[in-house]
């Protein structure tokens, strides 16, 4: 999509364990992740700080967040920019950072994703999360954070005759993967039967189908390949996005993630991908993404997941070695940056969690809500 010959590399990564960080505020979390990433890149010298955050504007609340975070990192006078695109904020910030570097407006960018979700009790937080969905239509009603995903899950189960237990293998696989992720919020195993019989939060979604409310921050340093200061961990090959219908009710098929389909079309097809981090705020979205990306036939993805096709031992691409939004956690604006940290470390060979060891290409997918926008990033191993 961009004719610029400039190559963009990730040279530093940082991630805070996702948890209920009662003593730490947004800036403290951003500081920790940012400093880790700068240290790995070998230099504090950056000309842009880009902050991906969504709930900070409601939880803290703080506006012009990037400038305050830059200041708390001691980066006085640097250029700073906040990017908000709901649950897809992290890849939206990546899109911005990559275009700044490709256009040679910046050569080193510190990208931080941060959100706190526990500054308020869960009731007010659900009000904030409901605003990820269209407040002029669906979210006028008390749909909460899970209502739309629940409607789509039931549609999927009835349309493709997939039973509840088969759908419980996604969270089970996520929890299995998260056990080895050092910054996962829920690093423990859960059996599919437990998922199915857990407390309902929005039937047919149970507590164990849903992402946890946790605080987190992750960061990466991005550099122009012609002026590298740090050691490259992975190359950003492309990042692309598309908007979609504001409500799934407006789609001809409510189960069609048309914004992701449009973004995929802009990439002009996919080569072989070794590792994928999908957006599974709720299992149904992860499954619909697999089918939209052409990695499973419609209605078949849950069965493939249950058979282990996307696990470390499976024949398909490795999906969500992090444990996904489900078990690693989903601090809204920070989540995509966690995915960037995890996939870069897998490609660089420094990842401590689940992997196959021969990954050369990685893909990161994010959507906001039920697909008001979607983004895809492709990463490549740096040879030699």
């Amino acid at each position: 999509m961009n004719d610029s010959m400039v190559k963009v590399y990730i040279t530093g990564t940082g991630a805070v364990k996702i948890a209920r960080h009662y003593p730490l505020g947004v800036r403290d979390l951003a500081f920790q992740a940012g400093k880790q990433a700068l240290a790995e890149s070998g230099s504090d010298n950056v000309d842009f700080v880009i902050v991906a955050s969504s709930l900070s504007y409601l939880q803290a609340p703080q506006l012009d967040l990037a400038s305050y975070i830059a200041s708390s990192l001691g980066l006085h006078g640097v250029r700073a920019l906040s990017v908000e695109a709901g649950e897809s904020s992290g890849l939206a910030a990546l899109e911005t950072a990559v275009s700044l570097i490709k256009s040679q407006e910046a050569s080193r960018v510190l990208l931080i994703g941060v959100d706190k979700m526990t500054e308020h009790p869960s009731g007010p937080t659900y009000v904030m999360l409901q605003a990820l969905y269209d407040t002029e239509s669906d979210a006028y009603y008390n749909i909460g954070h899970a209502g739309i995903a629940a409607l789509l899950m039931r549609l999927y189960m009835e349309k493709y005759e997939v039973d509840r237990l088969t759908l419980a293998y996604w969270p089970a696989m996520m929890h299995m993967h998260a056990k080895n992720n050092p910054h996962a919020m829920l690093p423990f195993a859960v059996a599919p039967e437990k998922v199915m019989t857990a407390m309902p939060i929005a039937e047919p979604i149970t507590l164990l189908d849903a992402y946890p409310l946790g605080d987190g921050a992750a960061a990466i340093v991005l550099e122009n390949g012609d002026e590298l200061e740090g050691r490259p961990l992975a190359e950003i090959e492309s990042v692309i996005s598309a908007t979609g219908m504001p409500s799934p009710a407006l789609r001809e098929d409510p189960l069609d993630l048309e914004s992701l389909r449009t973004a995929l079309g802009r990439l002009g097809g996919l080569e072989k991908i070794d590792v994928i981090e999908l957006h599974d705020s709720f299992s149904i979205y992860g499954l619909l993404e697999l089918e939209t990306l052409g990695l499973a036939e419609k209605g078949e993805s849950a069965k493939l997941v249950a058979e282990g096709y996307f696990s470390a031992e499976g024949e398909g691409p490795l999906v969500n070695p992090s444990g996904g939004l489900k078990a690693r956690g989903h601090p809204i604006g920070a989540t995509d940056v966690y995915k960037l940290v995890e996939v870069s470390r897998i490609l660089a060979g420094t990842w401590q969690g689940v992997k196959r060891g021969d990954e050369e290409t990685g893909m990161i997918v994010s959507i906001n809500a039920a697909g008001s926008s979607s983004r895809i990033a492709l990463l490549r191993k740096v040879k030699g």
Binding site: G123, V127, T135, E158
Partner: protein
């Protein structure tokens, strides 16, 4: 859910009366009315009264209810299809065990939310199972 009176007030009529918008360019109907057609982008729209009966295509019984409306949990949300126009809205006058997809439902006006710190109470269309189905009662007249 709103903490702002103007935000709710300016959209109240379509929400009380189930008034959708028909695009004069592509002919498609959507609800609630938007600034421009979500299908073709045209802003040449006209109001259209939607029939009050539809079919329940999906539903969810929600326990993690946001904000002050938690007191009313569980809340039931449905995806209702009215002659091809789909609407996400709450269901009312029905118990969770009585729900099934394919159920015929009809629109009524009910309280949607109440926000304690502002005192704002919002109303709008909800759907309930059709009363007296087969008797001719509650027949769709197309009136609000």
């Amino acid at each position: 859910m709103t903490r702002s009176l103007p935000v709710w007030w300016r959209r109240r009529i379509p929400r009380y009366r189930l008034i959708g918008a028909r695009c004069k360019e592509c002919g498609k109907i959507h609800y609630p009315p938007r600034t421009s057609c979500p299908y073709c982008g045209s802003n040449s729209l006209e109001e259209v009264q939607l029939p009050r009966r539809g079919i329940l295509e999906s539903y969810s019984v929600i326990y993690s209810v946001p904000g002050d409306n938690r007191l009313n949990a569980p809340i039931i949300v449905g995806l209702v299809n009215i002659n091809g126009v789909r609407i996400v809205a709450e269901l009312t006058d029905v118990l969770p065990g009585e729900l099934s997809t394919g159920l015929e439902v009809e629109a009524v006006v009910r309280k949607i939310s109440e926000t304690s710190d502002t005192g704002i109470i919002t109303y709008g269309v909800k759907f309930r199972p059709v009363l007296g189905a087969g008797s001719g009662a509650g027949q769709d007249t197309g009136e609000a």
